[in-house]
């Protein structure tokens, strides 16, 4: 059964209930985590490497399948039904650490593809949206360039534009700036900041603590697959309560 739109518009857009995931090698990546994400909320996820941040994010659009627990996005349960999974993927855009642009396609074609294949847009219509999205990330003059001709920061901005191509309601950022040279991080964070200001619901896994504190509405500190502390971002960064959060923040700040 496909979920319907009868969800109240001010209810949470993402509901995660006791999600658990253990990898084949026995590593417990997620251990009974639950959280609701409100519409237009920016949730930042921080924690040491290997703590399960990425796994959590990837469970939200079905790139990773949890062992138990439920994920509901905009009223649609993420389950074995491929139709539901597709609907959720249309509503959830994802930006990867390594950009994952399609290197054999121009920037424009990268952004056109899902519009034409998933939304069945006509090429011209798709291109119109593409140009608009590229303008938003400040790269409208690079439509015909190949990704390899762009800097890392530019590539990641294209990847953001591509993830926005299906007009998603939620955006997931998986360490979007971790592969970038320091001087290029700013331009990507600026685009993310703009998105947040526009009211996009975002779940952001990041190592940029300053950005997380500034843009995040709420923050989660995750360690060994558990949500150790969930609090308003300013609170979590300025006056963390849990010992492990304090220890982690003192190391990275």
């Amino acid at each position: 059964m496909t979920g319907n739109g009868s969800v109240t518009p001010d209810g949470p857009i993402i509901t995660v209930e006791s999600l658990s995931k253990t990898f084949a090698n026995g590593v417990k990546a997620l251990d009974q985590v639950s959280i609701d994400v409100a519409r237009s909320e920016v949730l930042v996820v921080v924690g040491p490497s290997g703590s399960g941040k990425s796994t959590f994010l990837r469970c939200l659009n079905g790139l990773e399948t949890a062992d138990s627990g439920t994920v509901v996005v905009d009223g649609i349960p993420l389950d074995d039904n491929p139709q539901n999974r597709l609907e959720i993927r249309k509503e959830v855009g994802m930006v990867f650490q390594q950009f994952n642009l399609f290197p054999h396609m121009t920037v424009g074609a990268n952004i056109d593809l899902a519009q034409m294949r998933v939304r069945k847009s006509a090429p011209r219509e798709a291109r119109g949206v593409t140009i608009e999205l590229l303008r938003k990330v400040g790269l409208e003059d690079r439509v015909e360039s190949y990704p390899s001709r762009l800097s890392g920061g530019q590539q990641q901005r294209v990847a953001i534009a591509r993830a926005l191509a299906l007009r998603p309601k939620v955006m997931l950022f998986d360490e979007a700036t971790s592969a970038l040279d320091p001087e290029m991080i700013g331009e990507v964070l600026d685009v993310m900041r703009d998105l947040a200001a526009e009211g996009m619901t975002m779940v952001v896994v990041t190592h940029e603590m300053g950005f997380a504190r500034e843009v995040g509405d709420r923050a989660v500190f995750i360690d060994e697959g558990r949500f150790v502390e969930v609090a308003p971002a300013a609170e979590l960064f300025d006056s963390p309560r849990e010992e492990r959060t304090i220890a982690f923040l003192s190391k990275v700040l």
């Binding site: 993927r89 990867f96 642009l101 054999h104 396609m105 899902a114 390899s148 040279d181």
Partner: protein
């Protein structure tokens, strides 16, 4: 035009020869020239090769003289080409080349189809599909082609009513298809998994991901070893002479039996195979340059 379509599919950039490397860190690295032949190396290679050939020729001449073999090269051309009232006419050897080429062409297409299907089955999530593909691969790769050919021609063909030609094409296609499928599978799995994930995160299905993202990138990795497999196909096709197909090898055998021109005819037959395989590589080389995929990072 097919070429243009493939080029669009695999995403050709305008430039050739060099790729500008822009790493994921965004640093522009030094432009790097690909396919750079070093003149000195080539000269050394050619000299060495010429030396080897000369030595072999001398040895051969010496031994054939000792054997008392009477070379009759003047009798050879009529088996290649004759000039009569109706203009030029292909001799048996050239007709044999035609038969070989036809078998190779059909087998090539069929084996590529089989190979792609097998590779996709092996990569599919269906256990039955994987099992079928696995059994096919192991059976083909672990038995001799000659036995497969006989098996199909003497066992299967009478049951289903195939003629020799069909048996030959099917045997060759099944055989080369098994190897080619591993090449294709290798090309696909060598791509970063992030490419699949990007597709999935965009709502694209497996089929669209393959068609628009994975295969167009895999093709450039697959093509060089696949050409090698194509060359094997040309050479392996000689085995069909054993089931009475009048291909190049069979024609050679017949002529030798009639004329005893063993040395000359086998030289010519080998030369003709060489021409076919070298042309095939040259053609694909040309194709690759025309497709020149230099979007590489």
């Amino acid at each position: 035009m097919i070429l243009a379509a493939i080029r669009r599919w695999t995403g050709r950039t305008m430039l050739t020869g060099r790729t500008e490397r822009v790493g994921r860190t965004g640093r522009t690295e030094k432009a790097r020239r690909r396919y750079k032949p070093i003149a000195a190396d080539i000269v050394v290679d050619i000299v060495a090769f010429a030396g080897l050939v000369t030595a072999l020729a001398l040895l051969l001449a010496h031994n054939t003289a000792a054997l008392g073999y009477r070379w009759q090269w003047h009798r050879v051309p009529r088996y290649l080409l004759t000039f009569g009232d109706e203009g030029f006419q292909a001799g048996p050897l050239l007709i044999g080349v035609g038969v070989t080429l036809r078998i190779v062409a059909v087998s090539l297409l069929l084996s590529l189809t089989i190979a792609l299907a097998t590779a996709l089955l092996r990569l599919s999530s269906s256990a039955v599909g994987q099992w079928i593909a696995g059994v096919y691969l192991e059976c083909i790769r672990n038995t001799p082609l000659l036995v497969q050919l006989f098996f199909i021609y003497f066992v299967i063909a009478p049951l289903v009513g195939w003629d020799g030609w069909t048996s030959a094409v099917i045997s060759l296609s099944l055989f080369e298809g098994a190897y080619a499928s591993e090449i294709i599978r290798g090309g696909i799995v060598s791509l970063p998994y992030g490419q699949w994930e990007a597709c999935y995160s965009l709502g694209l299905g497996r089929r669209d991901a393959l068609r628009f993202v994975i295969l167009p990138q895999a093709v450039r990795r697959i093509l060089p070893p696949l050409v090698g497999q194509g060359i094997s196909l040309v050479k392996d096709s000689a085995l069909v002479s054993t089931i009475a197909i009048y291909d190049l090898t069979m024609r050679g055998q017949v002529i030798v039996a009639q004329t005893f021109l063993a040395f000359e005819i086998w030289f010519v037959v080998a030369g003709l195979y060489l021409v076919m395989t070298v042309s095939l590589s040259a053609f694909v080389g040309l194709l690759r340059r025309r497709l020149a995929v230099n979007y590489d990072r």
